[in-house]
Every structure is written in C-alpha cells, then in structure tokens.
C-alpha cells in the first residue's frame, strides 16, 4: 500500500470529504511525527507502535576502498518499535503465512 492508496481507502470511509482534504490530513499526521522526531521527541501510538530517535555516536570509520581512516560524525537515526497489539495481529494465524 502506498500513500495514495491509503488516501483512497480513507476517502471511501469519509464520503463527505474531498480527496485532497484527506491527502492533507495524512500529510499533517506524517509531518507531525517527523517534526516531533526532528526535535528529539518520542511518538507513541498505542496499538500501532512507537517512534524514537537513536543517537549514533561519532566514530572513526574506514574508507573500505583505500583503508584510510575517516571520522564519522554523530548521527541521529529514527527507530520504530512495533506495538504489542499490531505484533499480535501480524501473527494471528499462529505461524504466519
């Protein structure tokens, strides 16, 4: 499923809303999550999962081609942990598909 299919599915649930309004709502939600993470906050959506930011400390790396050491700056990486309910839903048929 891609974003436009998500919007189409939602539009079918809300016949009184325009497609572009639903598009705007979906973008608003994703933008809010992005913004919160950019500010270093957590996003917790019970039943779905939680997003957090992990800080990867600066380290000395190596150019794999030349073997030359290079310094790698500190990096932030978004991290997602699946919520309990969703994890269970993925395995509802016991062993998975």
């Amino acid at each position: 499923m891609i974003k436009s299919e998500l919007v189409a599915r939602l539009t079918a649930r809300y016949p009184h809303l325009y497609h572009r309004d639903v598009e705007r709502i979906v973008s608003t939600v994703l933008d809010q999550i992005t913004k919160a993470l950019a500010e270093g906050h957590r996003v917790e959506l019970r039943g779905f999962g939680a997003f957090s930011v992990k800080v990867r400390p600066a380290r000395m790396g190596r150019n794999p081609r030349t073997g030359e050491p290079v310094s790698v700056d500190e990096k932030r990486a978004p991290f997602f942990r699946t919520g309990k309910e969703l994890r269970e839903r993925l395995n509802i048929n016991g062993s998975g598909s």
Partner: protein, 107 residues
C-alpha cells in the same frame, strides 16, 4: 533536552487545526489512518509512505533460543515481524539537514 512524547491527542489536534473537521471527527480520522496501516500490514502488505518511510512485514523462521534465567533451550516459533525503514528525507530532517533532492523522495 526535555523529551516529550507525541500521542494520538497531539495528532488529533494537528488534524483539527489543519482542516475543518470537528475534534471528534479528527480523532476518528487519526484512528482510521492507523487502522488502515495496521490492516494492510496484517494482510502482509508493505506500506510505503513517500518521504516518510517503508513498513515491511518479514517472515522469521523457527530458531532455538535460550531462557536467559534457566539456560534451557527453547524453540522460538516462526513468526512475522514488522520492520521500518526510514526514507532519506526523514533521516535528513532528523539530522537537521535539508533533504537531498538528488535522492528523490526515497521509499
């Protein structure tokens, strides 16, 4: 840095501000978005949200694990797990950079 947590209530408020929905409808909409995402993933579909990231369902085969307390070997049943791959755009924004247009929207 104080870490606050964004929740459904914050998303509801943002949706309420963005379009002319009532607070109730905004809350329902946030719920429905999450439900559509969960339903697609439960069907085994990959969910691609451009400039945000990709959620994919991965099949794990059975393996032997150990009860860390007793040291007993116990089989871990085959199962499906969800993995999230952030898009280039999301990674860039989180690192305070402007997304590189060369990389496109990412997946």
């Amino acid at each position: 840095m104080t870490t606050t947590t964004l929740t459904r209530a914050d998303l509801t408020e943002a949706v309420f501000q963005a379009v002319g929905l009532s607070r109730n409808e905004s809350a329902q909409m946030v719920e429905d978005i999450l439900e559509e995402l969960c339903a697609a993933l439960a069907r085994g579909e990959t969910v691609k949200l451009s400039s945000f990231g990709t959620f994919a369902v991965r099949q794990k085969s059975q393996r032997m694990g150990r009860n860390p307390k007793t040291g007993d070997e116990v089989p871990i049943a085959p199962r499906r797990v969800l993995v999230f791959r952030p898009s280039h755009v999301l990674k860039a924004v989180i690192n305070g950079q402007t997304p590189d247009p060369e990389l496109g929207e990412g997946d």
